[in-house]
Symmetry: C2
Subunit: 394 residues, 2 copies
């Protein structure tokens, strides 16, 4: 066993211990749901570092954190394969360990802005259901090569160990296209480390899929099986949730027409202002440094972030960008977010700040939330707006 393997297995006891503590005891997170446990990062903390610490990383759960017996744990790789695999953690630690920097973002990030237009069921996220980390583990394509992919495979299904107590599902099951899963440069990872430490239980211990550039819903935690198939997952999280619909489709109509809408995979371009917070009080005429994050799906680089100090009527400031780590390799993608800041020399208050990011494909963000409102509250990538008020002390 490699040193890394020893280190990872050695820390299993600690990880198991902390699995007994409710993840909600972290004071850094804003709890949105106790059961299942869902909590986001206070947005102000996000632009402080390119890597989000594990203790500050948002937690999205559909069920309870499973208790895993690490000796008995086996990852099954089956379906349309030539050789079915049952992979132990020790097996995984013996395979080449690779590291990928990637942002994980919930499809419902910023749902609360949509809920203000018309109520939406689902976790009430502000702009903190996003985080960026380095993930280490085994690239999925290596396991697929070991298993042998049959010719008619088109999709790779993931199933978690967590038990879902609500909705029409007993486990968490989703899928991604084979073209992403089997591409060495697609960087899909079976991660057992996050930011150089063993995965915490809330983040998927002992093993989590990381699908860079895709919606967080595909980065399955507590993965127990990988199934190769000619069809995508027929589970509700693939077919009935995490689909983007027009504003004129309601929940009832969707029950008839869900087949017409594809599952969300890659993410659109987005950005948010993390500092100042909404309602911030600031002395008029004095400088202010505005900070935030920007990210686009598919590994597309953020090329520009614009800031408006008049609610989006004019765009007069270009942000300075700090990129997440990305490799210098010729096939490297920008899976990590970009942090940005704009030093506004003199700000009149009251005012509304607005930001918009542009990615390498020339896509940018819609001006308003109402143009993209959907009944599930997904993929809110509207320009983000923050009101700044006059300082009370002046």
């Amino acid at each position: 066993m490699t040193d890394r393997g020893m280190r990872a297995v050695g820390s299993v006891c600690n990880a198991m211990d902390s699995a007994q503590q409710p993840a909600g005891t972290s004071t850094a997170l804003i709890v949105r749901n106790e059961t299942p446990f869902n909590a986001e990062t206070p947005a102000m903390l996000l632009p402080r570092a390119v890597l989000t610490p594990s203790s500050q990383f948002f937690i999205r759960s559909h069920g309870e954190v499973p208790n895993v017996n690490v000796q008995q744990y086996r990852l099954k790789v089956g379906g349309l394969v030539k050789n079915e695999l049952l992979v132990s953690l020790a097996d995984l630690y013996r395979l080449p360990c690779e590291t990928v920097s990637a942002t994980v973002v919930c499809a419902g990030n910023r749902r609360n802005e949509m809920s203000r237009i018309s109520p939406i069921k689902g976790v009430g996220w502000d702009s903190g259901a996003i985080g960026n980390a380095v993930w280490s583990g085994v690239k999925l394509y290596r396991l697929l090569e070991l298993a042998g992919v049959q010719q008619n495979v088109r999709h790779v299904l993931f199933e978690g160990l967590d038990h879902i107590h609500e909705q029409q599902a007993s486990t968490y099951q989703v899928s991604i296209p084979l073209s992403k899963a089997a591409d060495p440069n697609g960087d899909v990872l079976l991660a057992y480390e996050m930011n150089g430490e063993p995965l915490a239980p809330a983040h998927g211990f002992p093993l989590r899929v990381i699908v860079p550039g895709f919606v967080g819903a595909r980065s399955v935690k507590w993965i127990q099986s990988i199934t190769l198939s000619d069809c995508e997952s027929d589970g509700m999280f693939q077919q009935h949730d995490y689909k983007l619909t027009p504003g004129f489709i309601d929940a009832e109509t969707f029950k008839r027409v869900w087949r017409e809408y594809p599952a969300i995979q890659e993410m659109p371009v987005q950005s948010a202002i993390c500092f100042p917070p909404n309602g911030y009080k600031h002395a008029s005429g004095t400088p202010l440094t505005v900070r935030g994050y920007a990210h686009s799906g598919g590994g597309k680089r953020i090329t520009r972030v614009d800031l408006s100090v008049d609610g989006g009527n004019s765009w007069s400031h270009s942000a300075i960008l700090t990129r997440g780590t990305s490799s210098d390799a010729p096939y490297a993608h920008d899976w990590s977010w970009t942090l940005w800041e704009v030093a506004v020399p003199s700000l009149s208050t009251p005012c509304q700040l607005a930001c918009r990011a542009w990615d390498a494909a020339g896509n940018s963000q819609p001006a308003t939330v109402d143009s993209i409102w959907n009944f599930r509250g997904l993929l809110n990538n509207a320009q983000h707006r923050v009101r700044v008020l006059p300082s009370a002390s002046l």
Copy 2:
């Protein structure tokens, strides 16, 4: 020589003959510039067929159509390679011939809408500087494998045979990243056939690069050399043209800050209404079938096209989509446009129609042109609007 090779070489004489005729003699195109010759397809013709006939395909030239001696023609593959190649047309015809369906779109398509906000230099395109065809030839990655790519290569430079008489350039030179060029699934092609026939001179005879999913400016016509490099092309068409800038950057400012803006490669999501044309007269209260195209860069599928009959205030119609041909292979991308139509049962006039497309990454089009105006008039992918007037006969 293969049959295909015979057919292609056999038709060289015809192609050479038609090279003597000014391309502008085609009555199907709207000529925007005589010298260099630039002409677009009347938009109404575009949604009539998934494949745009060669005679109706828009023509973008920066110089004159070169006369090529097909016996002496050699494509040079050099720079940071292990073996420099000099490839004749016969050599190319002996290599495996592959076919890719792909839309080619000019970065300046729909510039005229931007020019109405503030004047812009450049060819005055409406929405017809776009077309879709099947292209046949040799995949670029095969030539790169034959040449041997050195380790520090990051970019692949293309140079055309056409002489440029304006601006600071003598030939047309651009580049694309190696990650696109060397990817078998990136489908970059050295095409000698278009829609099953030899390339017409105006479309790049004898050989044209097709870079699916990228801006048309990278699909170099009359290619004479391919150079592997650690840097992108330093030519003006890479560094000083075809860059997307914020609205507050003018031509003078750009001369100082051009390094801050990346060259356009992949394209954003876009769509246009091709029928009815702007100003169309229609009997109020009667049905109307609206037709158009939609396309996104990077091979991303169009998932949805919405139509508004009240100028974008509400979006109540989903279009029926007709996809361009795409392979069933697991790595297949949607390089081809999607044609769409909406049968509006009863239309009140006067009104403004508006369309917006969504791609598989959840990106859509900005509501207004002014939010994306730039001094070069590039990448206008705003929602497209068409006024429908009351029929005069009622």
